[in-house]
């Protein structure tokens, strides 16, 4: 029992050491924020240094695995930057997890691809494009993945009408859809 309770802070400490080395690598300006919550470490990096950060974390810090890549729309909570693109990394060598976030404005919604660093990002990034309409620059096959090709809009955006059905106008107020 005592062994486990000692292990948890060490893992966080090791992750934070990793983040410090990442900061040194990228320069202080590239990392916007470092958060520790619920024994999980989140690093918010600038979009321009995302590729460099991912490459550094994979090659030098041995985060071999991209577990998940997704996005969040904070429309009702904050105006701009509206989207977060979230990458979850796992180091099988060091048994560490790290969350990388990039903040995106809706009028400039794109992120560079990490497909060439983590090939498993390919379908995740297509999903981000499909669901949130965030363009992935440099993606080899940026098509819709979950909805069909003719689908209008991006359904996980908070301003997408949830009750919309094919054949209906998209600009109908939400209330009318509910009545329908």
């Amino acid at each position: 029992m005592s062994l486990e309770t000692e292990q948890i802070p060490t893992e966080i400490a090791r992750t934070i050491q990793t983040v410090e080395r990442l900061k040194n690598q990228l320069g202080q300006w590239a990392v916007e924020e470092v958060k520790v919550h619920n024994n999980e470490v989140t690093v918010v990096v600038k979009r321009d240094s995302l590729t460099e950060a991912m490459r550094y974390l994979r090659d030098e810090e041995k985060f071999e695995m991209l577990v998940d890549a997704t996005a969040v729309d904070y429309l009702p909570l904050q105006d701009e930057p509206r989207f977060d693109v979230v990458y979850h990394l796992l180091s099988l060598t060091h048994r560490l997890r790290l969350r990388i976030k990039v903040r995106i404005r809706s009028d400039d919604a794109w992120v560079p691809t990490v497909c060439h660093i983590y090939p498993s990002a390919n379908p995740y990034e297509r999903e981000i494009w499909d669901m949130f309409g965030i363009k992935i620059e440099g993606h080899p096959n940026l098509k819709r993945i979950l909805t069909y090709d003719e689908f209008p809009g991006h359904p996980l955006r908070k301003d997408f009408p949830l009750f919309w059905q094919p054949g209906q106008p998209l600009d109908k107020p939400e209330k009318q859809f509910e009545e329908w």
């Binding site: 997408f160 009408p161 009750f163 919309w164 094919p166």
Partner: protein, 206 residues
Amino acid sequence: MKIDIVRTTIDGHEITIAPPGKARGDVIDEELDEEMKEIIGRNVLLAKLEDLLNVDIVQAIVNWAKRNSLWPVTFGLACCAIEMMATVASRNDIARFGAEVFRGSPRQADVMIVAGRCSWKMAPVLKRIYDQMPNPKWVIAMGTCASCGGVFQNYAIVQGVDQIVPVDVYVAGCPPRPETLIHGIMMLQEKIKREKIGEHKLKEAP
């Protein structure tokens, strides 16, 4: 064309043989040979039986054959498919109703059990599988989602597969228990029992 109406006597009964449709010919009395008499006698017996039971014997036999070997096409979309599999398994043996032969190809199937929610992306596939099935064919919408969209009232899910294919039986439940699905299949059998031959040709997709 003028076809005569033949009046003859078989076994003491007076029989009138008329061509189908409106008879326009003359009535002629004629003595038939033995073979002809036997054939007509058999048909008369059949006709009398049909009158007695108030059914069309041929139709009844065809419908009996149809409804007791309903071959479903393997089409599981979601969790309802698990209940569908349980219906096929030994405890709720669907073979008791002749519907245990789940075919991999729609071309060999009679009934499509739409088991689960159907997304708009899946809708063209559903329609194609239905179109590939040979006539006569039936559709069971299994579960709330296939019937009306259920809890998935959103942009992605078809609000009832009757928007895409004509549905014969709606089975309620989320998911329906195997007993409920068997009840749905029996309802479909009752429906087929009352079907006229060739009635499926009148059915059209919405």
